[in-house]
Amino acid sequence: MDFGSIVLIVVSGLALGSLYCIMSMGLTLTFSTLKAFNFSHGAIIALGAYLTYFFLTTMGVHYSLAIMLMVVCCLVIGIVIERTILKRLLAKGLMEIIIGTLGIALLIENIVLLVFGGRLKRLPVPIEGAVALGSGSISYYDLVILGCGLLILAVMAYFLKRTRVGMAMRAVAQDKEASHAVGIPVARVNMYAFAISVALAGLAGAFMGSVYFMTPSMGNDALTRAFLICVLGGLGSIKGTVLAAFVVGIIESVTALILGIYWTPLVLFVFMMAVLIIRPSGLFGEEA
């Protein structure tokens, strides 16, 4: 294996990793603040892809405007879901939250199916072309995804560390009761966190729609991947999620090259099992 191929694997792994990063960060954010695991994340990824498709092809607006409109729609949808359903589920148990969000997923998936039909669709790629690297090549779009992923990471880091709402989210994640006591509006912070998580899922969907084909059930695969990443990184740890996303991206591109793409789920599963046996709360999770 020559140097070019190694660079190729690393770069494509990093590009995949940054896509996974966007995909799973929202899930981690919801888990850390709301203490709820959102099984409708995958369906929302599909919804984001289809909304982008709608704005691009039916409305015919520019790519960047379509993405922005999609993000706004996702924020609104997130607020509506949180206010009407999730807020009340939070007062009940873990099982109720899981099954309730599964129900939301089923609802969204079938509404998408009803509106857009079940045919395979694909979002147009905004930038064509590829760079030759070693034995293969890497498309410009992968590099764009890598750049966008890093940009979103930076924005999220700034948001969580420097803004009032972001700091309130971290406070709620650390200790809900204490946040209540110092006057943080926990319910509203939860709503913002969920809305942002939905918007991140929508963005991931918009990127995925250009890389893979779109189907109403495309979210299931993405959700499984995002779960794996969250568990690997330690639930609720954003730092761990980011790292795990890149680790999974690289493992996946290496496995795809050596064993073939079909084997990646098995390799990832075994890797997750091994990590969980050695560290039961993930790579960066708090000790149980």
Binding site: L89, L94, I98, I99, G103, E109, N110, L276
Partner: protein, 332 residues
């Protein structure tokens, strides 16, 4: 003693009714629907043993079902194994799979276990789709799976009466075993661990060992009914691992009530019939089911009842109020 007798009358009556159904049912369709109800009742009640009784949030239960079904189908189709042995092999494979996923993960926190088992199910799905050596048929699935038979009597969807009785027998076996488990020392340990984890540990109950037992028992019967499903339908595809079926299975537990013995069984019957009767509606079917599930979660049965009372209050007449008041005061 009297209490015990009353407890047994209703289930016995239900069994008698179920046993007499083939003599009354006019169409094969009704019987087919009932066989599916029995299959899902076994799946739901075994899932209920884990989720409701033991507090094990296993989200890979249909993965175990699929392992049972595919083991049986592949053994019979590619290796010519007798379907009866295939049934046992399917159940054993599912139990082993339960053991293997349970061993390293049951020590994890609840949420990690839930996610882990969910990805396990997705892994099973991927394996079926990869179609190693053409064994599992990939997305096209398997067709012409041989059926269970004794002499000339077959137990598949062409001879529904015999298949129905076999399904009923498996259902009864599973239910009786589950009943015995739940009402034994084992069941008490499960409930203790679910309700008061720390106290149960301090009394010397090993959570790990008991949870493993619960998973293996429930995996065994789930695999058994999975194998029966494969032989009964005669065809098998990755759709048994679909999102919709997983969610309807969850709905059986929610609507049936956690930690109740007959709840999931009754809910399995109701929901299977309902899902079937809505099947002409396409995508609307899942929209309706999902909306109902969310409504059922948001409003407890008591609340639904209270609202129904408020809405119907003007309709109810005075004598009914009087009647219901008198009845209540007469009760000891």
């Amino acid at each position: 003693m009297k209490m015990k007798r009353r407890k047994i009358v209703l289930p016995l009556l239900a069994v008698v009714v179920l046993a007499l159904v083939p003599t009354m049912a006019s169409s094969g369709y009704v019987l087919h629907l009932l066989v599916m109800c029995l299959i899902f009742a076994v799946v739901a009640s075994n899932w209920g043993l884990q989720v409701g009784y033991s507090g094990i949030y296993n989200f890979g239960h249909y993965g175990l079902f699929a392992i049972g079904a595919y083991t049986a189908a592949v053994l019979s189709m590619s290796f010519g194994v007798s379907p009866w042995i295939g049934m046992v092999a399917g159940a054993t494979a599912a139990a082993l799979a339960g053991l293997v996923i349970g061993l390293p993960t049951l020590r994890l926190k609840v949420i990690y276990f839930a996610l882990f088992t969910y990805s396990f199910q997705m892994l099973v799905y991927t394996f079926v789709m990869i179609n190693i050596g053409g064994l599992t048929g990939g997305s096209e699935g398997l067709h012409r799976i041989p059926s269970l038979q004794i002499g000339a009597m077959r137990f598949n969807h062409y001879s529904k009466v015999s298949a129905y009785y076999l399904a009923l027998a498996i259902f009864l076996l599973s239910t009786v075993v589950l009943y015995r488990v739940v009402h034994s020392r084992l069941g008490v340990a499960f409930k203790a661990l679910r309700d008061s984890y720390d106290y149960a540990i301090s009394r010397g109950i090993s959570p790990y060992r008991y949870k493993l037992v619960a998973v293996v028992i429930s995996a065994f019967f789930t695999g058994l009914i999975g194998a029966f499903y494969a032989y009964y339908i005669g065809a098998l595809g990755p759709t048994i691992l679909s999102w919709g079926i997983l969610i309807i299975g969850n709905a059986m537990l929610v609507i049936g009530g956690f930690g109740t013995f007959y709840g999931p069984i009754v809910a399995a019957f109701v929901l299977t019939v309902m899902a079937e009767s809505l099947s002409g509606l396409g995508a609307y079917r899942y929209i309706i089911i999902a909306s109902m599930m969310i409504a059922a979660l948001l409003m407890s049965p008591q609340e639904l009842w209270r609202r129904a009372c408020v809405v119907t209050a003007p309709l109810r007449t005075k004598w009914w109020e009087h009647f219901s008041n008198r009845k209540r005061s007469e009760a000891p």
